[in-house]
Structures are given as structure tokens and as C-alpha cells.
């Protein structure tokens, strides 16, 4: 070992691709892939999605990479369009869920009774199966885009709320909160200035990790027929329609859209975990 190297240092730390750089590279690549997917989804014109009966039921080829369906529509274009829609729904619902989680966790810092109420609400929502609550809410609102968004937003906040509440409870007992109160600061001021900076890493990672959940559940209830309307090219619709043609051997109808969905969700998961590794490195030690 040369004199300049630290004694006992991990040799991989000194190499060009240390963990930090690897994580950053993963984040950049994931973001690029997701951006490419969204942009291409927007660029696809509606004529690409139009019916072309001459080319119907063709298996994957160079002309149609994902094959075509029983109406001759190009499955690659439909999948990309569907993923873009899912992306939008996922973004909106994950954002709304995070807002609810933040609000409730800050509320639980108020006093013990409200904290009990919030904890009870978390337990209540966690004890019910996600999809059942989701279906009920979505159905009650009347389905469609609004029903799906409301349903998902109202069912995905509990786990993040529990995480944020625990963080708030920890910070609440710190001495500087007491000092702040002695200096005459209001609860609202303390929440915004003391709690929020501590919650920020959790919120960002939680938001990104909510994404895969919301997208999968959107696809799930659309697949079951309670979600988006059938004329929208959502992944859930594509999958549920293709079920009828699977028995005739048209495997590509379900395989490629399903695979793309799994890949997108996987990328999001990877992105969330990498960002957590970067901004909250002590997570594993808790």
C-alpha cells in the first residue's frame, strides 16, 4: 500500500466507480429512460393508434415490434401511450398521497389525542386490503379518471404517514423544539421551520417509492373494469382486452405491455432506492 492511501481503506473507494458515482449513474439513467418513455408517448400521433385491418393479428416483426392486435393497431404505440397515461396518473396520485401524509403527520404533533386519532386512521386503512378500499372509493365516485385518482390518493398515504409521524415524534422531543417554544414560536412556525427540514428526505423518497404502487394499482383496477374508460389506451385496459385473445395464441398482446409496465415500475423502484441511498445514507442503521 502506498503512503498516500488511507490505511485499511476499501480499495473500491479509490477506484473511479465508487458507490456514490454508481448510485448517481443509476439515477441519471433511470431519469433518462423515464423521460424518453414519456416524451415518446406524447409524440405518438393518434393515426398510429388507428385501426388497420390489413395488418391485424400479426406477431412481433420489424414493422411492428410489439405486434398488432385484432384491429391491426400497433401495440408498441399503444403501450407507450398507455405507459404515459399511467405515468401521469401515478405522478398525480403519488403527489396527492404525499400531501395527505405530510398534513396528517404534522397534525399528529399537535397533541396526544390528535396523534391517537391519526394513528387509528393509519391502522384502519392499513388493516383493509388496498384494492378493496380503492374499488369502493373509485366506484362511489363514479369511476373514470377522477374516480381512479381520488381512490388511489386516498388509499396510499398510510405507510408514508406512519414513517413521517415517527420522524415528527422523534424531533418533537428534541431540546431545540422546547427552546423554540420558549422563544415564543407558534406551532405552525415550528412545524414549517423545524419539522419540515427533517421530513424532507423521507418525503422525497416516499414520494418516488409511492409511484410504482400507484401505477400498479391504477392498472389493476382498470384491468378489473372499475377504472379508466375503455377508449383510453391505459395499460390496464390493454391487458384486460388482451385476455380474451390469449387463448388463441396471441401472446404478444399481454406479454409486451405487461413487461413494459414491470420495467417502468422497476425503474421507479430503483430510482427511489438510489435517491434514498444518496440523501439518507443512515437509513439502514435505524
Amino acid at each position: 500500500m502506498s503512503g498516500q492511501e488511507m490505511i485499511g481503506a476499501n480499495p473500491s473507494v479509490n477506484s473511479k466507480w465508487n458507490l456514490r458515482r454508481q448510485t448517481l449513474a443509476i439515477i441519471v439513467i433511470s431519469v433518462l429512460l423515464l423521460a424518453a418513455m414519456t416524451v415518446s408517448g406524447f409524440l405518438i400521433e393518434n393515426e398510429k393508434l388507428s385501426v388497420n385491418l390489413e395488418a391485424r393479428n400479426s406477431s412481433p416483426s420489424l414493422d411492428h415490434l410489439f405486434g398488432t392486435d385484432w384491429l391491426g393497431r400497433d401495440m408498441l404505440a399503444r403501450t407507450l401511450k398507455g405507459l404515459t397515461l399511467s405515468f401521469g396518473v401515478g405522478l398525480l396520485t403519488a403527489f396527492l398521497s404525499t400531501i395527505i401524509a405530510l398534513f396528517l403527520s404534522l397534525l399528529s404533533s399537535w397533541n396526544k389525542k390528535i396523534d391517537h386519532g391519526v394513528t387509528w386512521l393509519i391502522d384502519l386503512f392499513i388493516s383493509m386490503p388496498h384494492v378493496v378500499t380503492l374499488l369502493l372509493i373509485s366506484f362511489a365516485i363514479g369511476g373514470g379518471f377522477k374516480g381512479v385518482v381520488t381512490g388511489i390518493a386516498l388509499t396510499h398515504w398510510p405507510s408514508l404517514t406512519r414513517l413521517l409521524r415517527a420522524e415528527v415524534m422523534k424531533v418533537k422531543t428534541e431540546q431545540y423544539i422546547g427552546v423554540s417554544r420558549q422563544l415564543g414560536k407558534s406551532r405552525w412556525w415550528i412545524a414549517c421551520n423545524h419539522y419540515l427540514p427533517h421530513l424532507m428526505p423521507q418525503i422525497m423518497v416516499g414520494f418516488i417509492l409511492l409511484f410504482p404502487h400507484t401505477i400498479l394499482h391504477e392498472a389493476a383496477i382498470t384491468f378489473l373494469g372499475f377504472g379508466l374508460s375503455p377508449e383510453q389506451p391505459a395499460i390496464g385496459i390493454i391487458l384486460s382486452e388482451s385476455m380474451r385473445y390469449l387463448s388463441t395464441g396471441m401472446w404478444w398482446l399481454a406479454f409486451f405491455p405487461g413487461l413494459s409496465l414491470v420495467i417502468m415500475v422497476g425503474i421507479f423502484d430503483l430510482l427511489g432506492n438510489s435517491i434514498r441511498k444518496l440523501i439518507d445514507p443512515f437509513h439502514g442503521q435505524r
Binding site: 431540546q175 431545540y176 427552546v179 423554540s180 420558549q182 422563544l183 415564543g184 423545524h194 427540514p197 427533517h198
Partner: protein, 199 residues
């Protein structure tokens, strides 16, 4: 006058009393030393007098008004033993000082706070430097009484002397009453007008 009027405290209902019927008075400008063995309840007492905890019996009066009736910046402030615990690690030092709205610049130079420290994070300052900020933060114009709970225990002798010199001078200037809590009998005898003992 800061008047501690026969307070009693225990941590659990029906548990043992930490202290009963404790009485103490601090005049403006007076420095009272308080000593006691480990676990005698010095810090508990400090928290009660500063209003962090409520006593089970008795009351704390500042100029004949109960301390709990004050709103805004409280007249009795507490400086904790561990400065690194009483400063939000996610804040820059500038923001720590901005939390006190009625601070004057003179105080910062008296306490030896350098302007280049203001742009740093708490983890980039030493314990002594942080304790100066903690002290500055509690010494706004509204502060009439200061409770120094083992304020300089973890600092070296030189820093300890510097901080106490600055504080004593300020107390004289502004007529602030100080309750100094410490194990260190010699320190208390040096700085205080009289000492009392708990338990």
C-alpha cells in the same frame, strides 16, 4: 423578582417526589448558584422554572405573575448542558440566531461570535462555539432571568472562563438574574452572590 413558590414534582403519579416544597428567589441582577449531587433533580428543577415542565404543586412567579401566563418570548430562559442537542442540525447558524427576534449585534461581539460562523452548519462548529450561540439566542431583550444548567461543564477551562466573563458583564449591564446550576463548587463560589443546595 423570580420567585419559586414551594414547588413539588414527581415523574409518575404516586411515584417518589423528586423534591417537595422547594423555595427560591432570584433578584434582578443577582447570581445564585445551585448545587446538588447527581440525580438530585437539578435539571428537573431548571426545566420547571423555565416552564418546560409543569410542577405538581406550587408556582413560579416573575414579577408576581405566573410564568405560564406569559406569551411570546418568555422572560425566563434556559441554557442547556449540551449545545449540540439544543440546536437544530438542519439549520445554518444564521437561522439559529434569527429565531430570537429581539437580538442586538453588540451581544454577538461580547460573546465572541465571529461573523464567519454564521454561514456554517452546527456540525462545523465546536461545542464551545455552539454554546455561545445557545447563550446568545436566549439573551434577547425580553430575557429577565437566565437559568444556566451546567452551561460550561463540557468546555475547557479557558472557554469556560471566557463565557462566564461575558455573561457576568452582560448580567450587570442589563440587570439579568441568573440561576447557575453546577457540580463545580469552585465555579459557583467564584461567580455567584450566594449558593443554595438542593435536597
Amino acid at each position: 423578582m423570580l420567585k419559586v413558590n414551594g414547588i413539588s414534582y414527581r415523574y409518575q403519579n404516586n411515584g417518589p417526589w423528586v423534591f417537595r416544597n422547594f423555595r427560591l428567589a432570584v433578584q434582578p441582577g443577582e447570581i445564585v448558584g445551585l448545587c446538588g449531587y447527581n440525580g438530585a433533580g437539578k435539571t428537573t428543577l431548571a426545566k420547571i422554572i423555565a416552564g418546560y415542565l409543569k410542577p405538581h404543586e406550587g408556582e413560579i412567579l416573575v414579577d408576581e405573575q405566573p410564568v405560564s401566563s406569559f406569551t411570546g418570548i418568555r422572560p425566563v430562559q434556559l441554557v442547556w448542558q449540551h449545545p449540540e442537542k439544543s440546536i437544530n442540525p438542519k439549520w445554518k447558524m444564521k437561522k439559529v440566531l434569527e429565531e430570537t427576534t429581539d437580538l442586538d449585534e453588540e451581544l454577538l461581539s461580547l460573546l465572541g461570535i465571529k461573523s464567519e460562523w454564521l454561514d456554517r452548519w452546527p456540525s462545523e462548529l465546536s461545542g464551545g462555539e455552539l454554546q455561545r450561540f445557545c447563550l446568545a439566542r436566549t439573551l434577547g431583550k425580553h430575557t429577565k432571568y437566565l437559568i444556566a444548567d451546567e452551561m460550561t461543564t463540557m468546555l475547557d477551562a479557558v472557554t469556560q472562563a471566557q463565557i462566564w466573563h461575558a455573561l457576568l458583564e452582560l448580567a450587570k449591564q442589563r440587570n439579568i438574574g441568573i440561576l447557575a446550576i453546577s457540580h463545580n463548587q469552585h465555579l459557583l463560589q467564584k461567580i455567584s452572590d450566594r449558593t443554595v443546595s438542593i435536597a
